[in-house]
């Protein structure tokens, strides 16, 4: 029939045009990536075993599922066209509505696919459980992470230092993170190293990561938490052992001690740039805060405050306006990565 064929042509052209656009874009975005040399921000360019396993899993699940999905995509236009109204010499059986063969196929094949998929699902979920320590001969590096509006505070309890905006890790050594927030719920994520995990006030979640090559990776919060949300990014730097030791020294020598007063400034609603304006010194890198010492058990105390059983009026809750924050960042308080 006429209208049918017209429909078909139209579709073909659109598809071709889209394909061309997408290819162009792919090429473009690769170019862009090189030109700016930004920190890696995708698990498709993994820099550690966790992200690599996730990428692998991603590809396999896609391929296996395509076995049942592709036929639907191909058969839809094929059947519609072949059995179009007015087509010559094709069977027409208006009452045919059942066939055991097809029934078994359409229930059976997807079931088999799901069975196949369930094995890697079960295994990977257990292997990549963020609480599950990574296999390694080295003792994990312990980092405590506190989510604030709108930056992350990293405490290295064993090294006795803390940073904001930059998290350095040694290559090849597992990293064991303990996370909480001193405001609303957030989600901690370094795509190139591994998946995300929520962080919540009064609670502690865990995450295990490992970087297996030196590099710079983007880290961020992915759970919306107010008007400076998009600024809550940081740089993850993986360094060879020596370089890492050196970095720790740098933080110690260039930083200032973290104390209650400074933390009180830091935990107000503000972006990293705004905090830097308040606390930073010329010795620190731009928009990155170094703390040369941290009060003992600092992380535990942040958690404990929410479990004390005493009411926390808004003024006592970091991340509220009442606590002294301003609910939107000032125009010159904008930060990201690569800018």
């Amino acid at each position: 029939m006429k209208s049918g064929s017209r429909a078909h042509c139209h579709r073909g052209k659109t598809v071709r045009r889209i394909a061309v656009t997408i290819l162009t874009l792919l090429a473009l975005s690769v170019l862009y990536d090189d030109a700016w040399a930004l920190p890696v921000s995708s698990f498709l360019e993994p820099a550690g075993p966790v992200a690599a396993a996730q990428k692998n899993h991603f590809i396999w699940v896609t391929l296996i599922t395509l076995i049942v999905v592709l036929p639907a995509i191909i058969l839809t236009p094929y059947l519609a066209w072949r059995y179009r109204y007015g087509a010559k010499k094709v069977a027409y059986k208006p009452k045919w509505a059942f066939s055991w063969l097809f029934e078994i196929l359409i229930w059976g094949v997807p079931t088999i696919i799901v069975l196949i998929l369930s094995v890697p699902l079960w295994n990977s979920t257990h292997q990549l459980d963020p609480y599950h320590p990574l296999a390694s001969t080295q003792k994990p590096l312990h980092i405590e992470v506190i989510g604030l509006d709108w930056k992350w505070l990293f405490i290295y309890p064993d090294e006795g230092i803390a940073t904001v905006g930059e998290m350095a890790v040694p290559v090849g050594r597992p990293i064991a993170l303990d996370l909480t927030t001193d405001t609303v719920m957030q989600s901690f994520w370094i795509p190139a190293l591994g998946g995300q995990i929520y962080a919540m006030p009064g609670m502690r979640t865990k995450l295990q990561l490992l970087a297996d090559r030196p590099g710079q990776f983007r880290g961020l919060n992915s759970q919306f938490n107010g008007m400076g949300f998009e600024h809550q990014q940081f740089l993850t730097v993986s360094l060879k052992d020596d370089a890492f030791k050196n970095w720790v020294q740098q933080v110690k020598s260039r930083g200032i001690p973290l104390n209650t007063g400074r933390y009180g400034t830091l935990n107000k609603q503000s972006t990293r740039a705004e905090s830097f304006a308040a606390l930073g010194t010329p010795a620190m890198p731009q928009d990155i805060l170094y703390f040369s010492s941290v009060p003992p058990n600092f992380f535990q105390q942040v958690i404990a405050r929410y479990r004390s059983g005493h009411p926390l009026p808004p003024g006592d809750q970091p991340g509220t306006k009442a606590h002294g924050g301003h609910s939107t960042p000032s125009p010159n308080g904008k930060t990201g990565l690569g800018t």
């Binding site: 479990r307 004390s308 059983g309 005493h310 009411p311």
Partner: protein
């Protein structure tokens, strides 16, 4: 499922007996009653979720008083007795509605039910206010929030049911025992018994488990 054929047979729920002549009314009533059952089940889910929330929050006392310090077994037993008895008295009203259709015993049993319901509500309110006097209001802790989310919701249902009962007493006076009034009484009965079931959950999970 047997729903294929519409059931025009007389309703077997005790408490309703519309008589042979009301074929249409029967199917009508059946739909209405079934609909009410469905509503009750939806409400059941609501309560179930509050029970689950309560169960996950019993320990969240935030340093405030816990169940042992707050619940008074004596007053709970009286409340429970009143409510159980009220289910029976409502049953008696339904029974008289089904057999005999004389208005007087129905009204008397309903009044008894109402009394018991109001006694229950009074005692419960007293419980709440004495808890609040002890500084144990919902603002004190997660546990108390969960408590005050669950138990007063049941109380609110009982209050609604009592109001409905009063309306039905008036309607019996105004309209007499018409089929409409009867199906309404039937639904009210379902509601009343249902609230008893919820209360069984409350006294078991909240009070008894809390005190043991």
């Amino acid at each position: 499922m047997s729903a294929g054929n519409v059931n025009t047979e007389a309703l077997k729920h005790p408490g309703i007996n519309l008589g042979e002549a009301h074929g249409e009314a029967h199917t009508q009533a059946e739909g209405v009653v079934f609909g009410f059952w469905v509503f009750l089940m939806s409400d059941f889910i609501l309560f179930g979720l509050l029970f689950a929330t309560y169960a996950t929050m019993v320990d969240h006392t935030a340093g405030g008083p816990g169940p042992k310090a707050l619940f008074d077994l004596k007053s709970i037993s009286i409340e429970t007795f009143a409510l159980l008895l009220s289910s029976f008295t409502f049953g008696m009203a339904s029974l008289n509605l089904k057999h005999g259709e004389r208005r007087k015993p129905i009204i008397l049993w309903l009044l008894a039910t109402l009394m018991l319901g109001l006694i229950f509500l009074g005692l419960e309110l007293h419980d709440f206010s004495s808890m609040i006097d002890k500084g144990a209001g919902p603002w004190r802790s997660g546990f108390l929030s969960a408590f005050f989310g669950l138990v007063p919701l049941h109380g609110l249902h009982v209050a609604t049911a009592s109001l409905w009962l009063i309306v039905m007493l008036v309607q019996m006076g105004v309209f007499g025992l018409t089929p409409r009034v009867k199906t309404r009484l039937l639904r009210l009965g379902l509601f009343w018994h249902f609230l008893d079931i919820i209360w069984v959950g409350i006294f078991s999970i909240v009070y008894l488990a809390g005190l043991s």
